[in-house]
C-alpha cells in the first residue's frame, strides 16, 4: 500500500509544478487531458509577462517558446496542452486522467484514504496530504466563445448588447475574438443552445469558431491556500507558483 506525500485534484499548472518539485505525488484529473484551466476552458488569451525563475519553469517555458505560444501580447491558449504534454513526457509525474474523487476519508493517523473512480473502477489511494485545486462551488464561472469576423468592433458591439455582462478580448490569431459569458446555468449544453439561439437573433456578422467544452473560473484570491490556476493569467506563472509553494493545504 503506497503512501503518497500528496494527492492533488486537478492537473493544472500549479498542481504539476508542485508535484514535479516535491515528488511522490499523484494527480487526479477528471478530463481526458491536462491543463483544464487554460487550454480546455480557454481561460484567457491576453499575455501577462512572466519570466520563470525556477529550472522547471524555464524548461516548460522553453517548450512554449519553441511553439511560439506567446506572441505579440497574446497567448495561443488553444495549443497549450500538446506543448505541455511534450514537456510532461520527459518528466517523472504520475497523472491519472479521466479520474474523479468519490470519497476522501481522514484516517486516525492523519493520513487520507481517497476513493477514486476511473478506468479500473474504484481505486483506493493513500496520501499524507490532499490538495484540491478545483474551484469552490460558489466560484464564478464563465464560458469562452471564440469567433471570427473581419469586423471585430461592430460585432462586439452587437454581441455585448445581446449577451449581458459579457466581456471580450482579441484572441491569438487575427480576426478572432473571445467572448467571455457568465455561466447562468451549470449545464454547458443548455448554455451553448441559448448562445446559438441568441446569436441567430442578433444577426451579427461573425461566426462561432469554437466554444470551450468546460467552464472557466473567474479569479478569486480569497481563502485560497494553494495557488490555483484560475487565479493566474499566465500558465508559466501558475506553474512556478506550484513549484515554489511551501506546505500542503489541509
Amino acid at each position: 500500500m503506497h503512501l503518497y506525500d500528496s494527492l492533488i485534484i486537478g492537473a493544472g499548472y500549479s498542481s504539476l509544478g508542485y508535484a514535479l518539485k516535491n515528488g511522490n505525488s499523484i494527480i487526479i484529473e477528471e478530463n481526458q487531458c491536462a491543463d483544464p484551466n487554460f487550454y480546455l476552458s480557454l481561460k484567457n488569451f491576453s499575455y501577462t509577462e512572466c519570466t520563470p525563475v525556477t529550472d522547471l519553469g524555464k524548461k516548460l517555458n522553453s517548450v512554449f517558446e519553441k511553439y511560439n505560444l506567446f506572441k505579440d501580447g497574446f497567448m495561443c491558449t488553444n495549443a497549450f496542452e500538446p506543448a505541455l504534454c511534450e514537456f510532461l513526457i520527459n518528466e517523472d509525474v504520475e497523472i491519472l486522467l479521466k479520474s474523479r474523487v468519490v470519497n476522501c476519508k481522514n484516517l486516525d493517523d492523519g493520513t487520507f484514504e481517497i476513493t477514486v473512480i476511473n478506468a479500473e473502477g474504484l481505486n483506493t489511494i493513500y496520501a499524507k496530504d490532499v490538495i484540491d485545486t478545483r474551484p469552490s462551488k460558489n466560484a464564478q464561472k464563465y464560458l469562452t466563445v471564440i469567433s471570427m469576423t473581419e469586423n471585430i468592433d461592430p460585432a462586439i458591439k452587437i454581441l455585448s448588447e445581446v449577451f449581458e455582462n459579457s466581456t471580450f478580448e482579441k484572441a491569438f490569431y487575427c480576426d478572432r475574438f473571445a467572448m467571455y459569458l457568465p455561466a447562468g446555468t451549470s449545464d454547458i449544453n443548455e448554455m451553448l443552445n441559448n448562445i446559438h439561439d441568441l446569436w441567430l437573433t442578433a444577426k451579427v456578422d461573425a461566426k462561432i469558431l469554437y466554444v470551450a467544452p468546460v467552464f472557466a473560473t473567474k479569479a478569486d484570491k480569497n481563502n485560497v491556500l494553494f495557488p490555483k490556476d484560475y487565479n493566474f493569467s499566465n500558465p508559466i506563472e501558475a506553474f512556478e507558483a506550484g513549484v515554489l509553494f511551501q506546505g500542503g493545504a489541509k
Binding site: 491536462a34 474504484l122 451549470s186 449544453n189
Partner: protein, 609 residues
Amino acid sequence: MKLYTLKDNKLHITDATPDFSLVCDILCVGAGTAGIYAADSAAREGSDVILLEYSSCIGGMHVRGNVCMYYYGDEGGSYLEDEAKYNRDVFLAGNQQPETKQTVLYKRLKKSGVKIFCNHTPIGVYAEDNRVKGVQVLTNEGIISIGAKMVIDSTSDGHLIRMLPVEKSYGRKIDGKTVPFTVRTVYFANRCFMSINDDSGYINQYDKSDFSKKTILAHANSAKFIDKGEFINVASITGVREGLFFEGEDVIKLENILYDTPCEKTLFYAYSDVDKHGHDMALDEDLFQNWFVISNLSTVTASIKVPMGCVVPKNIKGIVTAGRCISADSYSLSSIRMNRDMFRMGECVGLACSMAVKNQCDFLEIDYPEYLAKVKERGCFKSNNQRIFGFANGSRNTYTPIVFDVEKNLHLLETTTPGAIIWSSYVSKNKEETAEIVYKKLLSSDNSLTKYNCAIALGIMNDCRALPLLREIVENRDSFRFTDCRRSNQLRTSIALCLLGRLGDKEDISLIEPLVFDEKEFLKEMYREEATEKYNPIYFDVFTHASMALIKLYKKHNIDTNELHIKFKNLFADDKIINRITSHPYGHPHFVEIYDFQKHVLKITRTRD
C-alpha cells in the same frame, strides 16, 4: 438486491438497499454517438428516459471526439434529419464543428423529452436475481441511485457491463491487442476545419496508468501540428476504437460476417470492410489472414447482420448495450463501429428497449415483426435484406461481387487482382474439384504471374501442390503487391510466407531462416522501395511473416523452438530490427508493433527457463 462495482478491475458484490432518488423507464448511460439516439428513440416511443453523461458535453466521439462522417457505415435513421440541420448561420462549419452537432443533438433530446444529466459517473450497478434494477452514480453533489426498468450501457467501453458477472475478454486472441487508438487534431486553414487522424499506438482504456500515459504521449505527438495552420485543439476525447468483448446471448465473429451466417433476429445491418488498423497481420488468425492477406480483400465491404442478442449480456436481464461495445470479436467489431452505424444502432436499441418496457417483457422477447416494421419505418433497417458483399465503387450503389464460380472466371488468375477468385476458391463448396480446376490452369500456363496466382489459390485450399511455386515466390522475393484494393494491398512474398508456414515441409525452414537471420537480407533492394525516413513497411511485413512462418514450421514438425528462441533473443538484443523498421519513438504505432512483435515471438518460442 446487490450492488455490483469494480474495484481495482475486480468484480465486487455487496448487499444493497438503494434509495432511488430518480426512477425512470429507461436509463441510458453515456450520451455519445449511440447513446443520444438510443435515448431519443426510446423517448419518442413514449418512454420516460434519463440520459447520463460523464463529461460536461453531450455527443461523445461524434462531437467532442471530432469524428466526422466516414465513408463506411450505412445511411438511414434519424441522424439524417440532424445532418440537414448542421447549418452555418451561427457556427462556421457544418459537421466539422462539435458545437454545431452538440446544439442540434441537444435540441433533439429536449424535443423528445429526454432528461439529461451531465457530469454524472456510473460507479455501480444494482441487480436482483440477475436482473439489473438501476445504477449508482457519482455526481457533483455526491452519490445517488437511479432506478430503471431497463438500462442501456452506451458508455462505449462497456463500463456497466464490466461491473457485471459476465465473461469478458479484450482484443485479439493471440496477444490481447486491440485496434490502435487515435487522437484527432483540428486546425483551421483556408476557411476550413481540417482534421488529422493520427493513429497513436495502442492503449488499454481499462488500465488507469496506461490510458493516462498513452493519452499524454499522443497529445505530445500532436504538438507537431501546432504550426500547421490555426491550431484549434486536440480532441478532448481520446479516440479509442475498440473496447472489451463480453459474452452476449449472441456473439458475432468474423466467420459470421465472411460466411454470412443466418440470423434469426437482426437488430440492424452495419456496413463496412474489416477495418484493420495496424500492419501486424502476421499475428492474426488464419481466417483473417485468408481474407485480408492471402486473398487481399482489405477494402471489400459487407452488409453485416448484427443479431439482437449481441447487445444483451448472457444470463443478465434489464440491461443492453448500444454503441461499439457489443458481443463481437475483435475482427467483427472493427466492422461494426462506424459513425453512421452507431447512430442507427442506438436508435434501434432505444426503440427495442421501449417496446420491452411497454410490453413488460425482456429485450429479446419483444415482438420481432413489430420491431422490424418500426425500424424500417424509421429508415434504420435496409428494406433489402440482401447481403451486399463486394468491392464498392465511389457512390456505393454498385458492387463488384467477390464470390463466384471459379471455373467460369479463371481468367482472373492472369491478373494482378486475383483476390476475389482466390477467396472464391477458398469458399467453394467442392474444394477438391476447384483445386483440380486451378491446378490445370497452373499447368497450362507459362506465365509466372498466372502460375503464382494459381499456387496461392491452391495454397489457400491447403493443397500442397502449391508448395513448389510458393517456394519460388519466396526465393525470388520482391516488392510486388496485388492491386485489388485502394489501400492495404498485400505483398505476394508475405502471402507465400504465410502459406508456407501452414503447408511447408521441414526443409522449408532453411528456405525461410535467412529472411529472418541473415544480415545480408536487409540489404536487398526490395527493402528500399516504399521505405521512408521513418518507416520500412516491406521489411516489417516480410520479417514478421517470415518469423511466424518459421515458428509455425518448427511447431508443425515438432521441433523444440528453444534454439529458435535463443536466436531471436540475440537478434533482438541491440534493437537492430527495430532500427531497421522504424525511427519513430516509443509509443508510435510503428514502434509498438515491432516492439510487441518481438516480445510475442520470444514468448511463444521459449520452452525452457
